[in-house]
C-alpha cells in the first residue's frame, strides 16, 4: 500500500483489547481496510484459539452438502430444520413427483377442454378420478420400506413413527390438494363439481393410512383404491351417470369413511411405531 502512516504497536494492542477510544478506533478501522502491515500487527495481538476453531467450523460448513431446493424453500418458510429434512426426503414431495402430478392433471384438464356433450361428462369424470387418486398415491409412496430412503433411519429415530407419518402425510395431502384445486380452477366452465374429488381423496388417503396399520402402505393403497373403483363402477353402471361416484350419496359415504378411518388410525397408531406392515 502507498500509505506511509501506520498504527504503532500500543495503539493496535489497545484496539485489540477494546481499550482504544471511539475516534481513534474508527480511524484505525478505516485504515485497516487498506493496510496489510497494520492487519498483520493486529493479528499478532488476536487470540489464535478461537480463530482456529472458527476456521475448522468454516471447513465443516463448506464440506456439508447444501440442502436441496425443496428443503431450502421449507426452511425459508420457517419450517423446523429436522422437519424440513424429513419432508425433503419424502419421495412424493420431490420435484419429480410434484411435476408428475401437474402433468397428470394437465392431461385431464386438456382433455376436458377439447370435449363437449357426453364427452365433456366423461372428461370431467376422468379428471375427478385422477385428482382423487393422486393424494392416495402420494401418501402410499411417502413412507414404508422399499420406497422411503430414510425408512431405516426413521425406525431408529427418536421421533415417534406415527408423528413422522402424520407430518409427511399432511404435507403430501396439502400439496396434492393445492395442485388439484389449481387444476380444478383451470377446468373449462369451472363449477363446484370440479372439486368433488376432495372428500373422496381424503377418505381414500385416510383409509389407506388406517389399513396401513395392518398392511404395507402399498398393499393398503392398492386394496383401498381397487375397492373404491369397484364400488364406483357398480354405481355408475346402475345409474348410467359417471358423476354418481362423486354425487351427494358418495360424498356422505366419504365422510363416514373419513371419520371411521381417523378413529382406527388413532387407536392403532402404535403399529407405525413398530415398523410398517412387517
Amino acid at each position: 500500500m502507498t500509505t506511509t502512516w501506520h498504527a504503532d504497536d500500543r495503539t493496535l494492542a489497545a484496539y485489540a483489547d477494546g481499550d482504544l477510544d471511539d475516534v481513534r478506533a474508527s480511524s484505525l478501522e478505516a485504515h485497516l481496510f487498506t493496510c496489510d502491515r497494520c492487519r498483520l500487527g493486529l493479528a499478532a495481538s488476536t487470540p489464535a484459539v478461537p480463530l482456529d476453531r472458527i476456521w475448522a467450523e468454516v471447513v465443516d460448513s463448506i464440506d456439508a452438502p447444501r440442502p436441496g431446493l425443496v428443503e431450502r424453500t421449507l426452511l425459508a418458510l420457517g419450517v423446523r430444520e429436522d422437519h424440513a429434512r424429513l419432508l425433503a426426503a419424502t419421495p412424493s414431495l420431490g420435484l419429480s413427483w410434484l411435476l408428475a402430478e401437474v402433468v397428470a392433471l394437465s392431461f385431464a384438464v386438456f382433455a376436458a377442454n377439447g370435449a363437449d356433450g357426453p364427452d365433456a361428462n366423461l372428461a370431467l369424470f376422468l379428471f375427478l378420478v385422477v385428482a382423487a387418486l393422486l393424494p392416495v398415491a402420494g401418501v402410499a409412496v411417502a413412507f414404508g420400506p422399499g420406497v422411503d430412503p430414510t425408512y431405516e433411519i426413521g425406525t431408529a429415530a427418536p421421533m415417534p413413527g406415527d408423528r413422522l407419518l402424520l407430518i409427511r402425510a399432511s404435507a403430501v395431502l396439502a400439496t396434492s390438494v393445492v395442485i388439484g384445486s389449481l387444476a380444478a380452477i383451470a377446468m373449462p366452465g369451472f363449477d363446484a363439481i370440479a372439486i368433488a374429488w376432495l372428500l373422496p381423496s381424503l377418505g381414500l388417503t385416510l383409509a389407506t393410512l388406517a389399513f396401513g396399520t395392518w398392511l404395507r402402505p402399498f398393499t393398503a393403497a392398492a386394496a383401498v383404491v381397487l375397492t373404491w373403483v369397484a364400488v364406483s363402477a357398480a354405481a355408475v353402471v346402475r345409474t348410467h351417470d359417471g358423476l354418481t361416484a362423486f354425487g351427494p350419496g358418495a360424498q356422505i359415504v366419504c365422510v363416514v369413511t373419513i371419520v371411521a378411518s381417523a378413529m382406527v388410525l388413532a387407536l392403532r397408531r402404535a403399529a407405525y411405531e413398530e415398523g410398517i406392515g412387517i
Binding site: 475516534v23 481513534r24 478506533a25 478501522e29 481496510f33 493486529l42 476453531r53 468454516v58
Partner: protein, 176 residues
C-alpha cells in the same frame, strides 16, 4: 500452511474456482480484524464467532459474485456487519447487544483527554456524547441504514434519526 502473498483480488478469484487454500489465506489475513471489529459492536463473543464463521462461508459461496467493485476487506466487512445485524435481530432482547450504552461508554475523564488530544474533526467527534457517537459510527463509518443501525444499537429507528440529526448539528457547530 505456506503463506500466500497474492493480492486479495487474486485470492478471491481462486476461491471462486473452488480453491480452498486461497480461502484459508483470506481467512488468515482478514479474520483477526473482522473479529475484533465485530467484538467492538457486540458484547456476545458467541455471536461474534458465529458471524465470523458465517461470513467466510458466505465468501466461499459468493466469491463468484464479487465484481471487483471496492476493496475486498470492505466487501468482507459488509457481509460481516449485515450477518451480525441479522443475528441480533433473531435473538430476544435482554441478551447483550451493541455497545452503545455499554462497553463503549467512556469515562468523563477520557472524554476530556480525547478532546484535548485531537484537533478539528477528531476533537469534535470525541466531544459527542457516546450515544451520539455510536450513531455516527454506525451510520457514517459502518455505512449502515437507519434500520440496521437501530438493530445494531438496540434502539428504535426514530431515536437513530434524532440522534443523527443532533450529532450533525453539534459537529457543524464545533467545526464552524
Amino acid at each position: 500452511m505456506t503463506v500466500r502473498t497474492d493480492g486479495d483480488d487474486e485470492l478471491l478469484r481462486a476461491v471462486a474456482q473452488g480453491d480452498r487454500n486461497a480461502l484459508e489465506a483470506l481467512y488468515r489475513r482478514h479474520s483477526p480484524w473482522l473479529m475484533l471489529r465485530l467484538s467492538r459492536r457486540c458484547a456476545d463473543p458467541g455471536l461474534v464467532e458465529e458471524v465470523v464463521q458465517d461470513t467466510f462461508v458466505a465468501v466461499w459461496r459468493g466469491a463468484g459474485r464479487y465484481r471487483g467493485a471496492g476493496e475486498v476487506p470492505a466487501w468482507i466487512w459488509g457481509i460481516g456487519i449485515r450477518r451480525m445485524i441479522d443475528g441480533l435481530r433473531r435473538r430476544p432482547a435482554g441478551i447483550p447487544r451493541a455497545t452503545a450504552e455499554g462497553a463503549l461508554m467512556v469515562s468523563a475523564e477520557d472524554e476530556v483527554l480525547v478532546g484535548v488530544e485531537h484537533g478539528d474533526l477528531g476533537a469534535a467527534l470525541g466531544r459527542l456524547s457516546p450515544e451520539l457517537r455510536a450513531v455516527v459510527q454506525a451510520t457514517v463509518l459502518d455505512g449502515l441504514t437507519t434500520k440496521e443501525a437501530a438493530t445494531l444499537l438496540g434502539i428504535p429507528q426514530g431515536t437513530v434519526k434524532t440522534r443523527a440529526a443532533r450529532a450533525r448539528r453539534e459537529l457543524r457547530e464545533a467545526l464552524a
